[in-house]
């Protein structure tokens, strides 16, 4: 197994042209674990590790492949709470448990090496030790399969949560602010995507006209799509449909950011199986072809990213993705941008100009018919807001829509191409999928 640390797989520039492996790589399977609010610290069949194994088994079963066929494993080894959890992201109860739960691995974090061992995957030749988040991992897998580093690759995204741990304690309980935090924390900003996006969102409302609560139809529709997603948190936990009254009476977290603008941290895992288009055609499901992957990582000018920076970044991401896929806005049927805070989604919608939505048009678009049955089935997967903070419904819904297996969420419009992402918007990546290879 090679470390591949020098492997240059990213497509993070303009001018790279159409992706050289366009249509030659495919997604052949996916699998979701149950989505729990948190791990109870006693049920060993519900750990993040057990859920990741389950997700892999489901993805393999979906595709119809056996463990011996797996030769690539890409798994995000960090906790979803990320670096700002600090020491607190070593969350597992002490003392640890019997093997394989005798360390943090499998409890609060999962990595490729742990999975390979537990699942006895004997033929893995590509398993990078450090893998980025799901937004980039899908690109990493696509490129690795296209370049021939592996042929049958599992991509796993575990999102862990334990009682009382999520961004509580650790650095957020400290008296001193170190590193990048010295520029934000003394004034109350702990450094999350909520803060990053709420200021540009305020600027957006001022610049284009509109009020914060114009997000309501979007958030409500995300919940609606979530309730039609059988594996998601809302659908499996009897969460009632959010109403306009629920939304506009909900309390503020970072005023004007409301409770329902935020996603719900969960304990869950999902896996996807990437393979060559040729192999995918021999497998169990109709292949969903990868038409392009792209990444970006922008540095903000100063302390707080402003609207003009966010618009520049997202415009760049759109140009780059359209260039590499050889498609344009009018070609995109399914559009699943990220919503892990409702305040960021309008930036993506307008940058990619899906259904002709231009800068400043998003709120009017949200107020129109964005239901999956309608003419503009926006974010048909329901995102994090409808399913919990799994960061995967964008991918799974896109696959299902192209396969035609989205059930009650199946759109009535054409579903031959799908664009999906996890991005913040300064970093992350986009993935273009197609029902046909060209």
């Amino acid at each position: 197994m090679t470390a591949q640390s020098q492997y240059r797989w990213r497509r993070d520039k303009e001018g790279l042209g159409v992706w050289e492996h366009r249509g030659k790589v495919a997604v052949a399977g996916y699998g979701h674990s149950p989505v729990d609010r948190r791990w109870d610290e006693t049920s060993m069949d519900q750990t993040l590790g057990a859920y990741s194994i389950l997700a892999c088994q489901k993805a393999m079963a979906d595709a119809g492949v056996t463990p011996d066929q797996i030769d690539g494993v890409i798994c995000c080894p960090t906790t979803i709470a990320g670096a700002s959890g600090g020491a607190a992201s070593n969350w597992a109860p002490r003392p640890f448990f019997d093997p394989p739960y005798d360390s943090e691995w499998g409890l609060t974090r999962v990595n490729a090496q742990w999975l390979i061992k537990q699942m006895n995957l004997r033929n893995v030749k590509y398993a990078p030790a450090s893998a980025p988040t799901i937004g980039e991992m899908v690109g990493m897998a696509s490129q690795a399969v296209g370049d021939g580093l592996c042929t049958t690759c599992l991509v796993i995204y575990p999102t862990g949560n334990l009682t009382g741990r999520y961004r509580r304690g650790g650095e957020n309980a400290e008296d001193y602010a170190k590193g990048e935090r010295q520029w934000t924390v003394p004034w109350g900003n702990h450094g999350g995507n909520d803060f990053i996006n709420i200021f540009p969102h305020n600027e957006y409302c001022l610049k284009y006209g509109g009020a914060h609560d114009d997000l309501a139809p979007f958030v409500i529709n995300q919940h609606r799509n979530g309730l039609m997603t059988p594996w998601g948190f809302n659908a499996t936990h009897d969460v009632p449909q959010l109403t306009l009254e629920d939304y506009v009476t909900s309390r503020y977290i970072l005023n004007p950011l409301r409770l329902w603008d935020c996603d719900r941290p969960v304990n869950a895992s999902a896996a996807y199986l990437f393979t060559t288009a040729d192999r995918a055609r021999e497998m169990q499901q109709p292949p969903v072809y990868v038409l392009n992957h792209s990444q970006h990582n922008f540095k903000q000018r100063s302390t707080q990213p402003m609207l003009d920076e966010i618009e520049t970044w997202t415009d760049f991401a759109a140009r780059q993705m359209y260039e590499g896929s050889g498609l344009s806005a009018g070609d995109v049927d399914i559009f699943n941008p990220y919503d892990g805070y409702s305040t960021m989604t309008q930036f993506y919608l307008e940058a990619f100009q899906w259904h002709g939505v231009k800068r400043g048009d998003a709120f009017a678009f949200y107020a129109d018919d964005i239901r999956v049955e309608g003419p503009h089935p926006f974010s048909s997967g329901g995102g994090n807001l409808g399913n919990g903070r799994t960061r995967t419904s964008m991918y799974t819904d896109s696959i299902e829509q192209l396969r035609g297996t989205a059930g009650r969420r199946q759109v009535k419009v054409r579903a031959e191409t799908a664009l999906c992402a996890f991005t913040t918007p300064s970093s992350g990546g986009w993935l273009m999928l197609g029902k046909y290879p060209s």
Partner: protein, 136 residues
């Protein structure tokens, strides 16, 4: 409860030394004349390393937008909730911005667009931070 105390490091020490003397010193690039805040190892505008120095600015700015932190995650600040968090742009270079709790401005009553000036607030023994207040 008091604010969280910044912990200066090698790169930021000149900045915080300035703040502790009630001066707002920003990184400035001699090669391209760009200001930079927060400080970085290289000039983000031209890439120069050697040309980065420190230059005092007047400390005048404007409020560009604000939120009210009602349910934040920092233990030390929870007793202060709800409180204002504004973004202030620097008049000398509006591309530079700072956070401010706007001491003296009642919560929810932030005059967006108003002029502000820097002042310095003690948050720990011998450690000041740069804060901003609305000027009349």
């Amino acid at each position: 409860m008091p604010k969280v105390i910044p912990a200066p490091d090698e790169l930021s020490k000149p900045f915080w030394d300035g703040v502790n003397k009630k001066r707002l010193l920003l990184q400035n690039c001699a090669a391209c004349d760009a200001y930079q805040y927060p400080p970085r190892e290289t000039c983000a505008t031209c890439g120069s390393v050697e040309s980065l120095g420190w230059k005092e600015v007047r400390g005048r700015g404007h409020i560009s937008s604000y939120i009210v932190i009602e349910d934040g995650r920092l233990d030390r600040r929870m007793p202060d909730q709800p409180y204002n968090l504004a973004v202030v742009t620097l008049d000398e270079d509006p591309g530079i911005n700072f956070y401010s709790n706007l001491p003296g401005t009642p919560v929810h009553q932030v005059p967006v667009g108003a002029a502000v000036e820097v002042f310095f607030e003690e948050v720990g023994p011998g450690q000041l931070i740069h804060e901003w207040r609305v000027t009349r």
